[in-house]
Amino acid sequence: MGLFETEAAKALASSAVFLFITVLLMAAAKRISTCIMMFSAQSAVMAMQVLAIARMRHSREAYAIVALVLIVKAAAIPYALFRIVDALKAPRDVSSSTTSAQSIFIAAGLILLSFFAVKPYAGALGVDEAMLAAAVALILTGGFLMVSRKKALMQVVGLLVLDNGIFLAALTTTFGMPLVIEIGVVFDLLMGVFLMGLFAFRIRDTFEHLDVSKLRRLRG
């Protein structure tokens, strides 16, 4: 192994830290745009992880996945979300039902929970414990963001984080799904974002706000 491979392996082993940081910042963030930027950074970190694995395993397919993740998840989806936020002209805060300090305590608790949850499996599967824990933590915090934020757009962001977690779990346990499936999943996600964007516009036009906690009764 050359110097680059050694450094790539070391960077890979410690890259879970960056994912934890993006998750914690998302929990602390007060604006939707900050959350979108964090999602973009998170996707970029994951693309780098795939790249490091591709370098170490000399896999052609993995390079395609790197490009796909970078283009769609780190650029296209955040760009689309920014456009939606601009076009909606709604207040830009996430209107959380918990304060940032509470959210970050909860996110920290979820990270710890995921470490304890993966402990028995990581050894048996022979994979890096921190990476698998990061995957579970992304899934859990994605769910947490979806239930605790009241703005309709934050549900999309939460879903995207959750999907990043599933992607990372697949990456760490089986070194990635086949390319065809990855392409399918990523484009599914892109369509999902567009649909949710349309939905957000409809919610705003019908109810004149984006607060999902107030969607209690039906309207024509």
Binding site: I21, L24, A28, A108, A130
Partner: protein, 312 residues
């Protein structure tokens, strides 16, 4: 030789502190499209203040005069705990990070006494706000330092720095990343920068530090301002030493020390740039949101301590 370099380190931190403030103010001015004052402006400000008369309110006791002197002395002592050019410090002993934290707290305590002794209502108001901020900032600062101590298996700052120098940058540990995030938030609160406090405002609704020093003038004010600048530099140097110590001189040779000095100045300049960027892009928090801000720091610091157990 060791003693000589250690003394030089302390003198550097004390004498360069106004320059650091000047550089930050200059960078901020540039970001805001102004030309800005010279980077040496804080020195002339200090010189001017030292030549002015020291006005003391008639109701004040000796504590009012004593407070700035104690605060300055204590801050200089704090500078003696920080490794700069080599991983050694003048007062580097076991457990010195506790002393560092509480020496800074002692300085603040005397400033609070002085502020309340001045007799104006602003002094008391600023003091009560400062107590709130510092109480909430103490926990994350100590916890973050403790997590680093636990990772490095040592209780002295210079040994922690030495341990980090021996690590590979690419083997970045979660503990260090979390502790850095927590300490960066605490550093902003401790030194009274935006978004916790604005050092350039005199608006009674928001000021914390300025409200406390409102009654001071002349040499007393100069000592307080200088001590504030030293504190900022000390905390920045502590962050550089704990999280980016690579390049510190391992030997006593002149080239090694010179390289360490240049690298240290570059790192400090980078931190000044980062601080100026944060201050120019973030709005000041409402007073009631400050506990939330420091709560985030506490959560990060607690997570850092827990990770010391998980990573082993």
């Amino acid at each position: 030789m060791t003693i000589a370099i250690n003394v030089v380190q302390v003198l550097m931190l004390v004498l360069m502190a106004p320059l650091v403030r000047g550089v930050i103010a200059r960078i901020k001015a540039r970001i805001q499209n102004r030309r800005g004052a010279s980077v040496l402006r804080p020195y002339s400000d200090l010189a001017k203040l030292f030549h002015k008369e020291d006005l003391v309110p008639p109701s004040a006791s000796f504590v009012f005069r004593l407070a700035p002197v104690v605060m300055f002395a204590v801050t200089v002592v704090a500078a003696a705990f920080i490794p700069v050019l080599r991983s050694s410090a003048l007062l580097g002993i076991r457990g010195d990070f506790f002393i560092l934290v509480y020496v800074l707290a002692l300085g603040r305590f005397f400033l609070l006494l002085g502020a309340m002794d001045g007799g104006s209502s602003f002094g008391g108001m600023g003091a009560s706000r400062e107590v709130l901020v510092s109480t909430l900032a103490e926990t994350p600062l100590l916890l973050a330092l403790m997590s680093l101590a636990m990772v490095a298996h040592t209780a002295s700052i210079e040994k922690m720095v030495l341990w980090t120098t021996g690590q590979d940058f690419f083997e970045l540990s979660a503990v260090h990343a979390l502790a850095f995030a927590a300490m960066a938030l605490v550093a902003i609160a401790e030194t009274g920068r935006i978004p916790v406090d604005n050092p350039t405002t005199h608006l009674e609704l928001t000021m914390i530090h300025e409200a406390m020093v409102l009654e001071y003038s002349g040499p007393s004010l100069a000592l307080i301002e200088w001590a504030g600048a030293i504190k900022l530099t000390v905390i920045m140097a502590l962050l550089v030493g704990l999280f980016l110590p690579w390049g510190m001189a391992a030997t006593f040779s002149l080239p090694a020390v010179a390289i360490a000095l240049v690298l240290w100045l570059v790192k400090l300049g980078g931190m000044a740039l980062a601080l100026a960027l944060v201050e120019s892009s973030v709005a000041k928090l409402r007073m009631y949101l400050v506990p939330d801000f420091l709560g985030v720091a506490s959560a990060l610091a607690i997570l850092a301590v827990v990770f010391t157990a998980l990573m082993r």
